[in-house]
Amino acid sequence: MAIVQTKNLSKVYNPDTVPVHALRDVSISIEKGEFTSIVGPSGSGKTTLLNMLGGLDKPSSGSVWVNGKEITSMKESDLIDFRLYNIGFVFQHYNLIPVFTAHENVSFIMLLQNRSKKEIKERADELLEEVGLGDRKNARPVEMSGGQQQRVAVARALASEPKFILADEPTANLDSTSAMNLLDIMSRMNREQNVTFVFSTHDQRVIDRARRVITMVDGAIHKDEYQNVEETKTG
């Protein structure tokens, strides 16, 4: 069964004035463990599709299914709860809570899930170790580099044990080394823990690491192809 699936998804902004077709009849299916990148020029609908997959935006028509459940018709409050347990997010601007330390940022989502203190602490420690920030867990976002913040964001996304992680241009604000480092971490998680990643990107380095590349043009799927990826570890 697909982890996430869209059926004839369309999104039209300003339907009554100047209609803008952000998505046109998009149907995709992403299986568990995939490492998928959605690519395309600016305005091609990558971010809109990602927002739909994450239940952050409602389509004009069509439906989104996550783990066999249709999320497009859910009430907003149910959708918030659904996202908490099923979808992880990594944003371009990291979007960490600035008043929290790295450890607190990772713990926070588990607190929202009402997990036990012991479990939260252990898992936050473990995830920060996995993203290479075991020694920075008491640092606040302002004390960390962009790359480090994004790695905390990945750890946060993983903390809730979601069905899949959506990452919108995760390397856009990172320097080359940080970007490759982040990609290493994400692909290792995907390979070793079978975590499903879907990210939108312009970055060719990211595209090169994806096993599946969905290319969008003018809101429609132009190409959907699998590619062989050589797993490398970069410094």
Binding site: T47, L50, N51, G54, L56, D57, S77, I80, D81, R83, L84, Y85, G88, F89, F91, Q92, H93, N95, I97, P98, V99, F100, F108, I109, L111, L112, Q113, R156, S160, D168, E169, A172
Partner: protein, 406 residues
Amino acid sequence: MKTLLTIAWRNIWRHPARSGVLLAAIVAGLWAGVVTVGIINGLLQQRIDYMIESEITHAQIHHPEFLAEGYSWLHIPHHDEIINWLENDSRVVNYTSRTITDGMLQSPVKTSGVRIRGIDAETERQTTTFHENLIEGEYLDSDVPSAIIIGAELAAEHNMETGNRVVLTFEDINNELTSGSFHIVGIFRSASVEYDRRNVFVRSDEFIELLGDQPVFHEIGIMLGHEEQAGEVTADLNSRFAGITAQTWRQLSPELSMLVELGGVMVIIITMIIMAALAFGILNTMLMALFERMREIGMLISIGMSKIRVFSTIMFESVMLTLTGTVAGFVLAWGTIRYLSGSGLNLEMFADGAAQLGWDHVIYPELTPGEYVIILSVVILITLMASVYPAIKGIRINPLEAAKNT
């Protein structure tokens, strides 16, 4: 809950300068408000204490119609039995009988309408503090026969001083006009100019001789161990003795009673005025904070933070901010009131004006723990009201804000 409180608290200190300015405004506003309420309380309490201790006493007994009519023949029946009862009641600390009627005071200068109060110098001294108002001459325990003490205002109007004589004319208990000549032995000044203008004091035994052929008393003033006992003592007197009316100071002086009520209302009104002004500051600060954190709040909703939690966090933030200022304001105000309640706030520059209104110019501010609780409740209530709008705006933030790339 603890996490939400932690976020709220740390959010306050993201912009120390901005929060600090609002905190300073809250501290200054509450300090000023609490001290003002304390001063008003002090003024009111001073007035109440003065009136009770100098004249009204905790309870009084009269003929049922005396206070309305004022005639000298409306005197207290069973006076000796009542005195005997008062003597044996453990709740009664002191009491004094007074003979009172309205009359005219004549001097070579003019004639004035006055209330003539015949008092027993010794029991009056034990019961009230009126003797402390004497500013010149002697009290009524003087050896001078037919002695009278008059108010400073009255003395000035009649161009009189101690040693001068005046004539009092009044109706006796048989409804006959009678008069007597009195020597001014002393001049008093109370907190009320009007009282000083309208009242004169003579010895009750000399006054009674002029009023009739039998001892008559129109008023018994009673001081009790505790002011709260006034209700039960007057109820006992009214049930035990026919033909009298015993009343508490609240019944005798509704305006004083109203002052007590007014004190309670003023606490709320002043706090509400100050907090209404501060509410706009809170609203402004919270809205600014909210607009700066649109993306962050969008992220929180995106990752699964429920709207009730977002709402609570914003509310906690403003309540914690206000409470921090409130605690500091309270500590400052408490210290100020504590200091002034010992030394007094001396408004000597307004002494003349205050005296015209019947107030003393030295004020001892006071505030009860209950009033602090009332102020705190009003502060929290208004803060919650001011925070609701930003909190509602907060939960309406679109989670897509988190995904915006600009």
